[in-house]
């Protein structure tokens, strides 16, 4: 299980503060980054030039979209080691009959070419996915992303629910970290799994507070006439630049896929 670092907050804040006022349309960004990931995953790992092109394209557009570089790097540092760690087990794949293997670490381990390829495949594509999704999330406020996804026919109920969760996520993360601080300030030093009961009590009170909050929120919604539908904000009409950027970017990625492999 990978971790969800406490500094996720900064990412949230930054996407609000840094997104340029007339930034690229959310639909265009979703299209650009989703297609990069999908095309990237479908590219054979034996074409390093294509991957170089994908990564450069993602970096260039991130700079153009003013995704804050410091947060960008921080996210990569958090998620990438996990990706690489999993990928690292690949080279030690079982040798099939007749396959050549070479010694590794002074001959104590054997790695196969197929294994190295599997490693490169997972590491490259995993990293590309992380970069593209990070660029998307840092350049697009979440409610705009949701409005964009709605345009791409994601069901309305799912979009409303996500908007709702995202709103309260940060309130509850704050509450959780205050509880954590209070626990640690009283000198808690849990080191073993059977001491997890303490964490259970914390999560339990967080849950009770959350459920009671959901009841109060529901009352507050009813009192303003809520009847089951959550109106979603609509995105402003896309401009010509949005089309052009999306088409140019997509063509660049697609030609890398077709001609550099």
């Amino acid at each position: 299980m990978s971790g969800h670092p406490g500094d996720e907050h900064s990412g949230h804040t930054h996407s609000e503060r840094h997104a340029a006022p007339r930034s690229l349309d959310a639909r265009a960004k979703i299209f650009i980054f989703f297609s990069t990931v999908i095309i990237g995953v479908s590219t054979p790992v034996t074409s390093p030039r294509a991957f170089a092109a994908y990564f450069s394209a993602v970096v260039l557009i991130s700079i153009a979209l003013r995704a804050p570089l410091s947060v960008f790097l921080k996210r990569l540092i958090v998620v990438l080691p996990f990706v690489l760690f999993i990928a690292a087990s690949a080279p030690f794949a079982a040798r099939e009959a007749g396959e050549s293997a070479r010694p590794f670490l002074g001959g104590s381990l054997l790695v196969t070419d197929r294994g190295i390829e599997a490693f490169a495949n997972a590491a490259l594509k995993g990293a590309l996915g992380v970069c593209a999704l990070t660029a998307l999330s840092l350049s697009t406020p979440f409610h705009e992303m949701l409005a964009g996804l709605r345009w791409f026919k994601v069901p309305a109920i799912l979009v409303s629910l996500s908007a709702f969760s995202y709103r309260y996520m940060f309130v509850l993360v704050d509450e959780a970290s205050r509880m954590k601080r209070a626990r640690d300030s009283r000198g808690w030093r849990g080191r073993w799994v059977w001491q997890s009961g303490v964490v259970g009590n914390m999560i339990g009170s967080l849950l009770l507070r959350s459920l009671e909050r959901s009841e109060r929120v529901y009352s507050a919604m009813l009192s303003r006439g809520y009847d089951g539908s959550l109106p979603m904000a609509e995105l402003p009409a896309p401009r010509l630049t949005d089309f052009i950027v999306a088409v140019v970017f997509f063509s660049a990625i697609m030609s890398a896929r077709l001609f550099l492999t």
Binding site: H143, V217, S219, A220, M221, G225, P231, A233
Partner: protein, 236 residues
């Protein structure tokens, strides 16, 4: 002006699902454009009473401008009576300030143009700058969230504003700002609070709740200066 009271409740009882008696024989009237304080110890029934005022809890004889609060009249009642909850994080559930202030107005089925107009007007009425509309609710200060909460209700053009602890958790300056705002908002106001100083500044009349019933009711200065009464009712 209508000849009905803004709010009229007679002999209201309420039991929680677990059997606890929260309200017992509560009767009260609030005239239009009156400001009434609702005072009482923790658990005296203030919040439960408030939830009856716009039909979050339906039951008993509760009338808003003469209309009984029932499942049928609920839309009309909720437009007329606006509740401002104590914790603005419970009240504000939309991603941006604009969406939140617009929520109630949109539920009324207004055109988007009217909605925008109302949102602008309400936000400036509570003394906030229009630039706040694009912001994410999570990034506001507590005081700003309180003000936005009020705007979410005035945007529905509510004629009765019901506040649950409007000054709780505010610093002295923000508190002063809210008190001045409440004074300038007009309309009919019902303010549930422990903040005796605020009640004395704003209210024409105070209703004192104790253990689910009305212990006293009268002119603000009479109630708030009756120290033995307040002690008997577990307020002081």
């Amino acid at each position: 002006m209508s000849h009905y009271s803004a709010i009229e409740i007679s002999n209201l009882d309420y039991k929680y699902p677990d059997g606890t008696q929260a309200l017992h024989g509560v009767s009260l009237k609030v005239a239009e454009n009156e400001t009434v304080g609702l005072l009482g110890h923790n658990g005296a029934g203030k919040s439960t009473l408030i939830l009856h005022l716009n039909g979050i809890i339906i039951g008993g004889d509760v009338r808003v401008f003469g209309t009984p609060v029932t499942k049928k009249s609920i839309r009309q009642v909720r437009q007329r009576v606006g509740l401002i909850f104590q914790n603005p994080d419970d009240q504000l559930f939309c991603p941006t300030v604009f969406d939140d202030v617009a929520f109630g107005a949109r539920q009324l089925g207004l055109s988007e143009k009217e909605v925008i107009e109302r949102v602008r007007h309400s936000v400036s009425e509570v003394g906030l700058d229009e630039s706040i509309l694009k912001k994410n609710v999570f990034h506001l200060s507590f005081g700003q969230k309180k003000l936005v909460s009020i705007a979410t209700v005035t945007a529905m053009d509510a004629r009765v504003l019901v506040f649950d602890e409007p000054t709780a958790g505010l610093d002295p300056r923000a508190r002063k700002k809210i008190i001045n705002l409440l004074r300038s908002l007009g309309r009919t106001q019902i303010i549930a609070s422990h903040d005796l100083d605020m009640l004395s500044q704003l209210c024409d009349r105070v209703i004192l709740l104790s253990g689910g019933s009305i212990a006293a009711e009268g002119k603000t200065s009479d109630i708030l200066n009756d120290i033995p009464l307040l002690e008997r009712s577990n307020v002081l």
